[in-house]
Symmetry: C2
Subunit: 344 residues, 2 copies
């Protein structure tokens, strides 16, 4: 079985973004009207087609990261927007049984308390069968105005993650800072920054069972594994591997063979989850190979050293360990979660 | 010949940092008194010993990046500090003939005009034989309060670089932002951010002869070459290679074999300069290999595909193209620049 740990509902119907515009205009009440057919039409020719073409069985599916809206005007707008995005992912999952496992967006805001986030995590996990969440390490979009991830500010969310047994993918949102570009310098910088914040913290000591996924192949981290190993050792923090590999996983959202090979040779394969980010920021065909840039399954399969046990770990078993709510179900039904229930 | 493009005078005598403390206290006049012997003793057992042990012939040598002081109180303090740092590098070069080629720090400040920087570049290059400069893309130390590198704000410096035919290594300084760690997340994030800013700009069209070095193996850039290639193509900017490889070089400051191999297989070898950052942030021996982490020559030599012509390019010839003021001199004298002159 092939599980893609990193997919966003980037093709959601226009009514969703219209709703956002209305929210920003102050009209909180008018929820978007989106039919089941609209959802089907927005997914079948896109994510579902690619799943079929590439032999992806199941995608961990969350709202679009660059539109999480954590930079929006106020907390009630962010909350309403987040609930609508998560509800739509929930409906998409129900319309394509067995194809998507839902991962929620959290109603984060810069410096805001995490009570709304904990409540939304409980709502989506306990009542709607979500299996994980996306955690934005910088709700201010590049200004880094919230506390570092090691700060106790975040602990209420970490406590809920551990209690509910769900991981977080650490995923930045839209860059609002003029120095940064969302899908390149901001995302990759945020991945690296988040890991370093956790490395310097007590989070893994205080939450030994917590699990984070670093997307985009871990930002700069695996490429600079030697640098980080040296600096961690020299700082008296011991071995980098011991500090983080019990709690951090890396996805395979890397778009050429050399990068996939580096990840697979540098990071233990137990800590790697297959991911493609399809459909996301990385589009089109690579003129060098003729293949789609985001067909990362092809690149993982082509790695010379992984072997069949390694592939099974990266493609399926590691994801099941990191997302234990992805339980296997009887054949023909949804693999991986309680049956869909209507959003409360 | 082996040229290391990335070395800092990290071991400078304590009198230099004492001077900085005095400057911050407002006592501008009291310059540090540092003897030639003190300079010799601060370099012989450190940078010079490593050069000899590792067979490095020449190091491009600049003041310590994390102490450039661009975040300091005011421009006159920054200017005085910068001149002193550069003068000390100049003296170190003269005391070890042929071993070091000087690269200057610039008196940058957040949002400040570049007139002081142009003047210091002229002073060090025209009058003291410096061969390049370090350019901090974020003098605010992680807040990114200056204009992006594509903005015309920077053009007076770019004009001077082209006129003087010297490159800039794009190198961040100390992180002042609490979200960031200087030598990991800040440096690597700044490398990536700077490249993306230049990619989205007209700088290379307006300055076709300008040359930049991305340190630390290019931050996250080579590891995410596929991502950047895809996004550049999809944004209508054409091929990433065509956009940047006429003006950007990457150093080899990467501290394990997999990372060096990725760099050498991803980036054309004409665009790679040997660098080690010794002595810098990366210290100690790698317990896996028993070798020093920062002995990057060993890793480049061990690459299976580079070949002797490739090694000659990476170890010497590319550096000579990027730093044309590194002229070969008659045997026994300084390779690379007019004879040392006293700082004006």
């Amino acid at each position: 079985m092939i599980i893609d740990c990193h997919g966003h509902y980037t093709t959601s119907p226009r009514e969703l973004s219209d709703y956002r515009d209305r929210l920003l205009g102050g009209a909180h009440g008018a929820k978007p009207r989106i039919s089941d057919d609209q959802i089907r039409e927005s997914i079948e020719p896109h994510q579902l087609r690619l799943q079929r073409e590439r032999g992806i069985d199941l995608t961990l599916f969350s709202p679009t990261a660059s539109r999480m809206g954590h930079e929006l005007a106020n907390r009630s707008v962010i909350q309403a927007w987040t609930e609508e995005c998560n509800n739509l992912v929930h409906r998409a999952r129900a319309l394509f049984p067995g194809r998507f496992a839902p991962v929620c967006q959290l109603p984060q805001s810069t410096g805001g308390s995490l009570d709304l986030c904990v409540a939304e995590l409980r709502r989506t996990v306990e009542r709607m069968g979500f299996v994980g969440c996306n955690l934005n390490p910088d709700p201010s979009g590049g200004f880094w105005r919230s506390k570092p991830l090691g700060d106790r500010h975040w602990y209420p969310l970490y406590e809920a993650m551990v209690e509910l047994d769900v991981p977080a993918m650490i995923h930045a949102g839209r860059a609002c800072h003029p120095a940064l570009d969302t899908t390149t310098s901001h995302y990759l910088g945020a991945d690296t920054t988040a890991l370093v914040q956790l490395l310097h913290s007590d989070v893994f000591r205080n939450f030994p069972a917590i699990r984070f996924i670093l997307p985009h192949g871990g930002g700069a981290v695996p490429y600079h594994w030697g640098r980080l190993r040296s600096i961690t050792l020299a700082s008296g923090m011991g071995h980098l591997e011991d500090r983080i590999l019990g709690n951090v996983w890396f996805d395979t959202c890397l778009y050429d063979q050399a990068a996939i090979d580096l990840l697979l040779s540098t990071i233990p394969r137990e800590n790697i989850l297959f991911g493609s980010e399809a459909l996301g920021a990385v589009e089109g065909n690579d003129p060098r190979t003729g293949h789609a840039f985001d067909d990362t399954r092809r690149l993982v399969e082509a790695n010379a050293t992984l072997g069949s046990a390694g592939k099974a770990a990266v493609f399926e078993h590691n994801a099941r360990r990191v997302f234990p709510r992805l339980k296997t179900r009887p054949t023909g039904s949804n693999p991986g979660f309680p049956g869909p229930t209507p959003p409360p």
